[in-house]
Subunit: 122 residues, 4 copies
DNA sequence: GTGGTCTAGACCACT
DNA sequence: GTGGTCTAGACCACC
């Protein structure tokens, strides 16, 4: 409930990330049913079309599948989820290290930075 | 010396990052003159307006200052640069840790990931 | 509804002033929607880019905020508006008194001048 | 001798204002000799062309006149100076009141503002 | 229909 | 040759 969308990133992508992350985190597992498009739309105060777009994208990634009448379910196997999780982590990490190297940080400095932030966010 | 722009991020922001990073890395220091708008436009194959937009943004960050007829110069003091570098690093790190935590990584796993990527990028 | 732009000041700044003043005067209040970039461009006979530049500047001043698909809205609170109004008035007054002092006017003379002009403009 | 030029206004106009104001203030009177272009250029650290442009403008306003070999002199009569001073003051005052009216100030508020600033600048 | 970005190219004042 | 401004007009993603 209550969620602030940033206006830099398309809402449908922010919404996608919310559910994708629930799956990658293991909170939603194979066979689990997702809330309906209408429910989500209400809950997040967005247009149903926007939710639809986010969900179609998840279908396309083969994380979920919509069963015509009964709703939308997680279909990805644990292995596939683990793989996607690894890929996502790698991609995030590559972006990050590229950025900090570009401003001249070294490995040690970066490591310390991560640990400091980690504490702070706990 | 050419350069590949990704199409997810506006060119002007990518251009901004190139020069901002040169300053944050200490390659360009206070008093140094930046190439002219037209030079950059030619070199990177973009429209002068796009360069102009990137540079205005750097002026606004008080990293540079344009001298109407003689060019654009770095004006930020070393202290200010150090501060901005720190802020940039923190912001990048916050984004990153938030992302990996969202997909369930722990500190140890993250640390290892960073080190692995660091090797790979060397 | 047309409008005459002076050619000493960039059009985008004059346009900025028009809308900024509407907000500072209280004609546009928090939550109000501004006309679209294209509407303004038509109405004032300028290029949409010019309007865009003026409006981006208002966003930067945190008077307005653009909602990617629905338009641009006034976001400044009444307090913030009152503050900006005060600052603007002070800045205008400082410039003015500096100018008249530079040509040797005294306070009394200045006061009379203001009152005379005020009548005249009524 | 130390002077900060703003980069929003052409230097030659800022320079012009310095000398024009000396005349309008009565510090320089009819018959007085102005410093040479070269002296001014050195003193203010600007290009002699820039000084030349400012002075030509003053000649054009019939405030000064250059005597081929002996230098440049104030030629305006006291009446003419008084007139220009009045005009300048009126123009400054019109701009100012227009601005403050645009943001909704009343005469009383404006009068108080002026008095406050006047104190402050004393 | 909304804002945002970009190109191509012109023009201007200033030094 | 420098930065700054502006036009005309296109294209894009989003909702």
């Amino acid at each position: 409930m209550s969620f602030e969308f940033s206006n830099e990133t398309p809402i449908y992508l922010q919404l996608l990330a919310v559910f994708r992350d629930q799956i990658l985190r293991g909170e939603l597992v194979r066979g689990d049913k997702l809330p309906s498009v209408r429910e989500i739309a209400l809950e997040y105060g967005v247009n149903p079309n926007t939710v639809q777009k986010a969900f179609s994208e998840m279908d396309r990634m083969e994380l979920t599948q919509s069963e015509r009448t009964s709703g939308r379910f997680v279909i990805a196997s644990d292995e596939r989820i683990a793989l996607l999780r690894k890929e996502q982590a790698l991609s995030d990490a590559r972006d990050f290290t590229e950025r900090v190297r570009a401003i001249g940080l070294g490995l040690t400095e970066t490591r310390e930075l991560i640990e400091q932030i980690w504490e702070e966010q706990k």
